[in-house]
Structure formats: C-alpha cells, structure tokens
C-alpha cells in the first residue's frame, strides 16, 4: 500500500530529497501531485516539500503526524493550495499533508443551522450540497477554497459586512497536533450556538495558518439563503464621497450584504476588459439581501444616501441575469487588472483600517502609486475598511519588483499607523512576519510565541510562517 511505502521510506526519502533541494522562481512545485493545485497568485519564492502524503481519515493524519514528530520532520498541511501568502511553501522541506482525499460532508443539522465538513470539501461543493435545504455558507473568498483551509487562514469574503468572517462562523474544530494527538476545540461533536466553557480554543486555531495543528474537521454556522437579492451600482465624484456613503448606509441600519469599492483605475480596467461603459470614477457595487418588502426599503434608503453624497448613475437589478451582468465587472477585476499589462503577474495587497480612516489611506496610497510609477488598481470591501491594491508587475524586472515590495511595506505601515492591520483577510504567511511584529508589539509576539512553544515545542508545524524564529 502506498501509505506503508511512505512510512518505511521516509528517512530514505529525506536523504534523497536533500539533493532535490531547489528554490523555484515561481510557486509551481515540481511534484506532480502539487503542481495541479498550487496557483501562482503570489510572487514570493516557494519551496516544495520532500514528500506529499494523502491521508484518508483523521486516524491516518494522527499516525503520520506521530511519525513526523518522532523523526522531527516539518509538517505542512495542504487544503486547496489557494492561499495568497505562501502558506503551503515548505521552507525547511518536510512532509506535506494533502488532505484532499478527506472530502465528506458529515453531520448536517438544518434545524440547527450547522454542518461539519472535512478538509477536502470546498465552499462551492458545500453550497451545492446544501442547495435543497434552503441554507448556505456565505463566506466567499475569491477561490473555491477548502473550508478547513479557510478556517486556518481566518478567511473572509465580499459579504463579511453582513455575515462575518470565519472567526464568527466556526463553531468547532477537530485538530491533529504536532505530536499526533487529536483535540476537539469545543468538545467532541458539540455544536451549541454559544458557549462560555473554558479557553476559546476554536478561535485560537482559526487563523493559525497550520502552525499550531492540522485541521481535519470544521463545524460551520449556516445561514438561510436570502429570499431575494437586489444589486446596485453607483458612481461617485470622489473616494471620500463613496466611503461616506458606505459609513452612512451602515449607520442607517441597512443590513447591506455587500459593498465593494472600485477606484477609477480599476473601473477603467474593467470597462476595457468586459466591454462595459461605467463612468471612470470611484464606484460602489452594492448588494442587498432580504424579503421583497425589506429590499424595497433598503434600496430606497441606500439610494437617498448615495444621492446626498453626489452619487450618480444609480443602476439596480433584481433578476439573476441582470444582477450577474452588473457584478461581472467586480468579478473579473483580477483578470481586468492583469489585462492592463499582458505578460505580467499580479500580487494583491491586503490592509484593513477603521472605516473613518479609509478615505485618507486610499488617497495617500493612490498618490504613492502614481509617484512610484506602479500599476495598482484598487478594489475593496469598504464595509469592513478592507481594500486590495492589485499590483501588476513584470516578474522579470527586479527593479520594479523591488519598488512593489517597498510600496507594500509602506502601505502596511500606513495602515498600522491608522490603528489598522497589515492583513485583513489573506493572513501573515511568509511575507508579513516582520509587519506582524510591528503590529502586535514585542509583548504580543511573545504571547503568540509562548502558545506556539506550548503546542509545538519542536517547531514542526508549518515552520517559518506567522512567527519569525531566531535560527541557532
């Protein structure tokens, strides 16, 4: 059996693979099993693991972890490999645990609005499974990501403003620790809607990016599929006007489901890519969920607010086909940005600040982009104060790559200076470890390091991510 083979040859593999040690210029790794999965959405240098294993159940994950623990081999959990911060790069080699064969939807309780899934289940697969029940799981990061992977990176989506992020929607986790022991963070099989029992272990592991344990099951909070949806688009004379409209809409108590901001550069790219003709100014894409009556009220309130802020061209749509057309621009944003400079790669920045600071940070960031001759159309989840600059850069131009790198550091520091965070949804991974230190401060980092040392004293779990360690 394949699995036994790996057990026996693990040390042999390690010897063999030392000679295969290669640092690749892109993130596609040479192992056939991984190359189909890892998507080169980011530009940092990536390193393949020495071995990939494909456990089929938590018992196998635990047994494999025990082997790795005994031989001090690094463990890299792998869901769909769609993370944007290099989370699956095996910086010190080691064993990649590809969990894609654990793909069951277990324990659906429609009356309790919860479901438990294994790591191979992606968000689209789950929603297809749930479609007859009238329920859905709304968190929708760009990729069709593994739900356990989304828990590991504390992922978020375009409708976080209404439904929250993974932090608010994970009820329980089954986690295999570095020594192979299996823990249920809220107790085995438990799924109360709220609890105050002991330390919040569930949220300790949410966002831990594979550095504290391997997530093998997650119990998720589900929501009712909205009765009806209305989408709207509105153009504004300035970034300030667009953000003011956002803040006022939230303050008016409108339970808006999505507010997406696109700056003029982004809208221009979208117009060209999708043959649209939106006015080339800051634009908001809005979506409302609810019953027919509540939608009327929500849309009316939002329209009044946008108009009072100088918004114009308020278009809205109710039926699926027209709504999809309206949102096409936003959905194709990534490709539209890439199309601005064919042959280039794109990297997405990801900072998040309090809402009131959003106009200032966007304006300063745009000035920075122009001053440094960088292509960086902006798209953002303004309802959360989170925005992304889609940096389009020529990977063969080291000077430009360097300018982009410095720009992203300045951007993160700008956000930190405004009481924000260096990463709203993508995670720390490899590239933001130094920024995390600035964000948390020495005591905060020390507390994180203590937790890491307690759960993984040999630093086997995804080493080199989140926390920087002094190498001896």
């Amino acid at each position: 059996m394949q699995l036994l083979q790996l057990f026996k040859n693990l040390s042999l593999w390690k010897e063999l693979c030392k000679n295969l040690d290669k640092v690749l210029a892109s993130c596609f790794v040479s192992f056939p099993s991984l190359s189909a999965h890892i998507i080169a959405l980011f530009l940092c240098r990536c390193r393949p693991p020495d071995v990939v294993v494909f456990p089929r159940c938590v018992e196998e994950v635990s047994a494999l972890a025990k082997v790795c623990h005994k031989h001090r081999l690094p463990i890299i959990p792998f869901g769909t490999g769609t993370g944007l911060e290099g989370g699956v790069g095996a910086m010190k080699g080691g064993v990649c645990f590809s969990l894609r064969n654990m793909e069951q939807v277990l324990d659906l309780h429609p009356e309790d609005f919860d479901v438990t899934v294994e790591p191979g289940v992606t968000r689209k697969t789950l929603n297809a499974y749930l479609r007859d029940t009238g329920l859905w799981f709304p968190i929708d990061p760009g990729a069709d990501a593994s739900l356990c992977g989304m828990a590991a990176t504390s992922a978020s989506g375009t409708n976080a403003v209404r439904y929250g992020t993974m932090r608010e929607n994970v009820i329980n986790l089954e986690v295999v620790l570095a020594d192979g022991s299996v823990v249920h963070t809220a107790g085995k099989g438990r799924r109360p809607r709220k609890t105050s029992a002991g330390y919040n272990l569930t949220n300790l592991f949410v966002g831990s990016e594979g550095t504290l344990g391997i997530i093998t099951k997650t119990t998720l909070r589900l929501y009712g599929i909205p009765e009806a949806m209305v989408s709207a688009v509105c153009s504004f004379p300035s970034v300030q006007a667009a953000v003011d409209s956002t803040v006022q809409t939230l303050q008016a108590g409108v339970p808006i489901a999505r507010i997406e901001f696109l700056d003029d550069v982004m809208i221009d790219a979208c117009n060209r890519f999708s043959s649209l003709s939106y006015p080339v100014t800051p634009t908001l894409f809005l979506e409302f969920h609810g019953s027919e009556q509540s939608l009327e009220e929500q849309v009316k309130t939002a329209e009044d607010i946008t108009q009072s802020n100088g918004g114009s061209d308020f278009q809205w749509a109710r039926d699926t086909e027209t709504r999809n057309r309206l949102w096409k621009a936003r959905h194709d944003a990534w490709y539209a940005a890439l199309a601005l400079r064919p042959g280039c790669k794109a990297y997405s920045t990801d900072v998040c600040v309090p809402l009131s600071r959003l106009p200032q940070i966007i304006v300063e960031t745009k000035e920075d982009l122009i001053e440094n001759r960088l292509t960086g159309p902006i798209a953002g989840h303004v309802g959360d104060g989170n925005f992304h600059c889609l940096m389009v850069v020529d990977p063969n131009d080291p000077e430009e790559m360097h300018r982009v790198h410095l720009f992203t550091e300045r951007l993160a520091r700008r956000a930190l200076a405004m009481d924000g965070t260096c990463t709203g949804e993508h995670g720390v991974g490899l590239g933001k470890r130094a920024l995390l230190c600035e964000e948390m401060g020495p005591v905060g980092i020390q507390v994180m390091q203590s937790l890491k040392d307690a759960l993984d004293p040999n630093n086997l779990m995804n080493p080199g991510k989140i926390l920087q360690r002094e190498e001896p």
Partner: protein, 237 residues
Amino acid sequence: MSGRVLVGVKRVIDYAVKIRVKPDNTGVVTDGVKHSMNPFCEIAVEEAVKLKEKKLIKEVVAVSCGPQQSQETIRTALAMGADRGIHVDVSGKDYENLGPLQVSKILAALAKQEDAQLILLGKQAIDDDCNQTGQMTAALLDWPQGTFASEVSLEGDKINLVREIDGGLEHIKINTPAVITADLRLNTPRYATLPNIMKAKKKKIVTVKPADLGVDVTSRLEVLKVEEPPQRQAGRV
C-alpha cells in the same frame, strides 16, 4: 384551456456523488447515498414557475413516480413554486424496474385526469440517461413535442420553441396541448429558500397507485449485469 401544467420530477442520486457499483453487480449503491432532484427536472420546474409568474398559466402540478422518498423531491418542487404535488407510489422491485415506458403511461393518464395544457419534463435523467419519457408521453397522448428546449414562449394557444440540435438551433411552433423537455440552457433554476420551504410544507401532495390510473408497471426489460467501465490503461507517447 385549464392553464394547468404538469411537471415531472425524478429523484436521482445527487450529481456530485461518486457512484459505486454494488459488489453483486446488480446495480449501483443507493443506500445512504445523497439523492436530489434530477438537474434537468429542476430546469423544467423553474420554467413552469416562471410561466406562472408571468401569468401565462394558472397552476403548476409536480409529479414524481417512486417510493415514499420521492415526496421529498416533490417538496423541493413545491418550495420552488409549484402549487401541489402528485406522488405515484411505486416501490420495491417495481421501482427498480421502473423505466420511461411505464412513466410515460402514468404521465399520459395523469394529463388526461388533470386536464393538463402542458407537460414539462427534463430532457433526460442523469442516472439512466434514457431521454425517452417526454417523447413517449407525447406519442401516447398524440400531442406535439418540443424536446431539448432552450427557449420557450407562449403565443396564444401556440408555443414558440428553440431546440438545441446537433446542427445548431431549430425554431419551431407547436400547438397546445404539448410536451416540452428542458435542455441545459433553458434557464438557471432558483434555490429553494427557507421561507418557501416552510410554505411548501402546507401545500398538498396526493398519493396514488399506478393501478388507480389503469397503468401496469411490469417491466419488459431485465437488467443482467451492471459493471464499472474498464480501468484506463496507461498510454504510450
């Protein structure tokens, strides 16, 4: 015209499930496996509900032939907007051997009983891929048929239809009453929302037996063996 549309909905193994053949090669594993409405039947239901929303027809009746669990499939149709359901109870060996010929006889009998103006079906079921029920039903009733429909519009007592065929798109005009079978691009079916699922619980489902409709469901076909396709051999470059 009664303004009544009959929609056939079939309970099949969910499209996302990995099918496994039973060890005794008599069929595929169905116990404990997720089932749902055949995707082409979903499209048929959606089209019927759209016609009702446009006030072109008055009532949508969902029909399913099978065991007790077929009622869940009818409930999904009700949650999508059908008005009431008819469950034709077929179980055990009769259900295992149920095929398009028997179903088309049942639908023809129901169409007469319910004075239906239109029968909307999916073009085929994803378990047997027969693509026969619509055509047989039309033949039994001597009604016109519009199969592989990707566009349907009612014009007085006639129907304009666009069919997806190998050569491209065929535009036809047929009289009512008629049988239409839905193809993939006819529409995008709506999700059943929770409030509609709750409302659907109050809608009526009536159970009848094939004998009540004068239909004999004995099959003239016998399944000899079911086996997996042969394993793919490695190619040579």
